[in-house]
Symmetry: C2
Subunit: 314 residues, 2 copies
């Protein structure tokens, strides 16, 4: 009985060492060495190649090494076995760090003051809006969206949330479903996207959505913060909205193509902040521990936690 | 009975209009016009010139137009009448925005990622420490320090506080007095200074204090965030500590001389963030309302709130 480990783009030995220490009785194998396909009962994957999990007759569960599972569904030959997400409190905390930091940087015009420092200019317009006069809309109210929304509210922002199906958010206003989307966007000065990537959400941040954001806010135009998945956004529409003035700026951690190609105009756009998809990293120690604990649960006959619903895609 | 208004460096008419609307029965006078010195019962001052409040025989109270009162005590000829601070929840929220934003920017290496964007570099070291592994020490536990400490704790930081006399901080560790200072500094990776400026605190951020900060932290060296008063810091010592490596970086909103002189090396130091003393602005609407309410209290025979203790200096 073995664990097949495929951490594409990451250092495989970092992960192997951790899993082997946590599951000393279970061989940890990788695709770049010969292994017995019949012995593989578990897979821990990040962006495995299409078909890499086919022909594993005793596979019992697949674990995503990161918060998202869209990379699993990208495999048309994915085996029909239970899939589990990682729900890592550490990762949630990190995502909220990113979201709160970027919302504060937009509120406080940090890019302007960084330019002024570079130019040795001491200037202040004294028209800083208060956080409570800036409306943040959190798109997606899963573990990540709920935590970010709560922390943004603690910082004083006027927060609302949108989710596919109705959800409660500590008494803050919430919107649900397609029919509520226009009202949600119309009261949003900073849109924070923390949706999972599914066939339904792909390309949701497009020209129509951007045109629906509040134009009457205290920040002089709407902003977006996308820390979810690059596939949620249509970058040509974001650039066009920045050009036309429909959108005032964007903080993007994720992109349609990653790494973001050097010729993307997003890199050099003065109103865009680019980070290299590191808003919320999976800390290998935490993730390996959570997956090893789930494997022990299955071995003990207990049900899998945080199982993904293939129909919803998350 | 009149209110003498001296908002040095600010637009006087902005303030006069507000006070006049709030106190329609009371003439609002300024030093650049003739006025009856015997009629002045109240003063609202920001950095009035030395002696400007002498010779006001019926003066009953002096109000600071900003959060600090050190500018009042800078006047050796300050009349011996009750002085009051402004305690503005809005200003407290803004200060915490600044503090939390800069602590998150240090935690998340925002300066590094801004440089990488400028250089079109997609790179991440995946060794991002968790907020809970970074120890923030809040120096000063008044209204501002308590609020900042609580919000930093919500964001996940490992927060402790120091104050002159012992204070409780929602169960977080606190340190008090000179004797606790070494232990407080030794567990501090990011020092947040929110002390009032008094003869006791002037120059407290000096070589000795900086040398006492933690050198073993997860950020690779200690940082300071000073959003209190410029007089708290010895800039030559900060620059020397950055040079020697005792200090890894600083976010400074306040300076020994303001505006910060163009030839100050702080402007161009790659490890220093400079903002033009705007961490927490007094919003004129809020401040004028709070002072007008205090004047009405005094007129009604009620005691002054938020009175300053001249012996403590805050």
């Amino acid at each position: 009985m073995s664990l097949l480990l495929i951490p594409t783009g990451w250092h495989v030995e970092d992960w192997r060492v951790r899993f082997q220490a946590l599951l000393p009785e279970m061989p940890v194998v990788t695709p770049d060495e010969p292994f017995d396909r019949r012995a593989v009962h578990y897979v821990a994957s990040w962006k495995h190649p299409e078909g890499a999990l086919a022909g594993l007759p005793n596979l019992a569960a697949i674990f995503s090494l990161g918060a998202g599972v869209d990379h699993l569904f990208a495999d048309a030959r994915l085996p029909d076995v239970p899939l589990a997400r990682v729900v890592d409190p550490d990762l949630t905390t990190r995502m909220s760090e990113y979201v709160v930091m970027h919302c504060l940087m937009l509120l406080r015009q940090q890019a302007r003051y960084a330019r002024q420092q570079r130019d040795v200019v001491w200037d202040d317009d004294r028209h800083q809006p208060a956080a409570r006069s800036v409306r943040v809309g959190v798109l997606g109210l899963g573990e990540l969206g709920l935590d970010a929304a709560r922390k943004l509210a603690v910082m004083g922002f006027d927060v609302a949330g949108w989710s596919r199906s109705p959800k409660a958010l500590d008494g803050l206003p919430t919107f649900a479903g397609t029919e509520d989307m226009p009202a949600f966007l119309a009261r949003t000065d900073i849109l924070v996207s923390l949706l999972p990537l599914t066939p339904q959400t792909r390309g949701v941040i497009d020209a129509a959505l951007l045109a629906g954001l509040a134009q009457d806010g205290r920040l002089g135009g709407p902003f977006i913060v996308n820390a979810g998945r690059g596939g949620l956004q249509v970058e040509a529409d974001i650039l066009a909205a920045l050009e036309s003035g429909v959108l005032k700026g964007a903080a993007l951690d994720v992109f349609e193509t990653e790494p973001l190609p050097p010729d993307s105009p997003l890199w050099r756009h003065p109103a865009v902040t680019v980070t290299p998809h590191n808003a919320a990293m999976s800390a290998p120690d935490a993730v390996a521990g959570l997956i090893a604990a789930q494997i022990r649960r299955l071995q003990a006959g207990l049900p899998l936690e945080h199982q993904v619903d293939p129909a919803r895609g998350y």
